[in-house]
């Protein structure tokens, strides 16, 4: 193990030497949203803890979450979630051996951006419409 580690091997992705393209931006965004969503998942843990602690704590949680600023943050998380979901499905198709050629990589990339935007708008429309 130690012998392999100490040998000089090529290091993977050098982000700064590539010219930005739709495909590379989407790839970076997949990792970026993955990292952000991992941290955002703590909100879910706080949510379930607040429910466990009782109504008073839950109402406090609910009050913080319903602040306009929290809504902006949650809007970002919603887009990140739907993006990571759609692009994750795109990745699974690649893993299965489909859609590797450049043309289809661009078509599926466009579809992923379209779907994640649509799902985000749809979700928040439902949320705001159900409140009214």
């Amino acid at each position: 193990m130690g012998k392999i580690m100490s040998r000089q091997r090529p290091l993977s992705p050098h982000l700064q030497i590539y010219k930005p393209q739709l495909t590379s931006i989407l790839s970076i965004l997949h990792r970026g949203t993955g990292i952000v969503l991992s941290m955002g998942s703590i909100i879910l843990v706080v949510w379930i803890i607040s429910l466990t602690l009782g109504k008073e704590t839950y109402l406090l949680f609910s009050k913080v979450v319903n602040h306009w600023f929290s809504h902006v943050v949650l809007l970002g998380f919603t887009f990140g979630l739907f993006y990571h979901l759609s692009n994750g499905i795109r990745h699974l198709f690649w893993d299965a051996g489909y859609g590797y050629d450049l043309k289809h990589a661009y078509i599926s990339g466009g579809a992923v951006v379209f779907c994640s935007l649509l799902l985000t708008i749809l979700t928040w429309s439902i949320i705001y419409l159900s409140v009214i």
């Binding site: 193990m1 012998k3 392999i4 580690m5 290091l11 993977s12 992705p13 990792r31 993955g34 990292i35 969503l37 991992s38 998942s41 703590i42 879910l44 843990v45 379930i48 803890i49 429910l51 466990t52 109504k55 839950y58 109402l59 609910s62 979630l81 979901l85 994750g88 499905i89 990745h91 699974l92 893993d95 979700t123 439902i126 949320i127 159900s130």
Partner: protein, 127 residues
């Protein structure tokens, strides 16, 4: 001569363990990704349908064995998937050997703590 053969042998063995280890991680990451698809769709739908209605409605929702099961699976898969994804990112971008090992252990530890904590909360409300 002898030491040369020894060295070659250990290299092959190293490659073998590295290879099988990597394939295992790769597979588990895809399996957890596939599992996350229905779980995320189900949870976001439930969130919009009932979980935003208030405390009593949320507790009632969590007392259904189906919802409690789903939520436990969601938290378990979520933290497994998050840890395995962050592991790849760390392996790709953290080049300092010590820092890499420490952050890998830390990520796994945090994922386990958050996973166990959230699952216990679901169980407490369900029971």
């Amino acid at each position: 001569m002898n030491s040369n053969i020894d060295e070659k042998f250990t290299k092959v063995e190293d490659m073998k363990t590295l290879k099988t280890h990597g394939v295992g991680h790769w597979k588990l990451q895809r399996i957890s990704a596939i599992a996350m698809i229905p779980l995320v769709i189900w949870f976001t739908t439930s969130l919009m349908l009932t979980l935003m209605d208030g405390y009593e409605q949320s507790i009632e929702w969590l007392q259904s064995p189906f919802n409690a099961t789903g939520l436990i699976l969601l938290f378990g898969t979520l933290y497994f998937h998050a840890a395995s994804g962050l592991q790849v990112v760390i392996e790709d971008y953290v080049h300092h050997e010590g820092l890499k090992i420490v952050s890998l252990i830390l990520i796994k530890l945090i994922a386990i703590v958050l996973g166990v904590l959230s699952i216990l909360c679901v169980l407490k409300i369900f029971l």
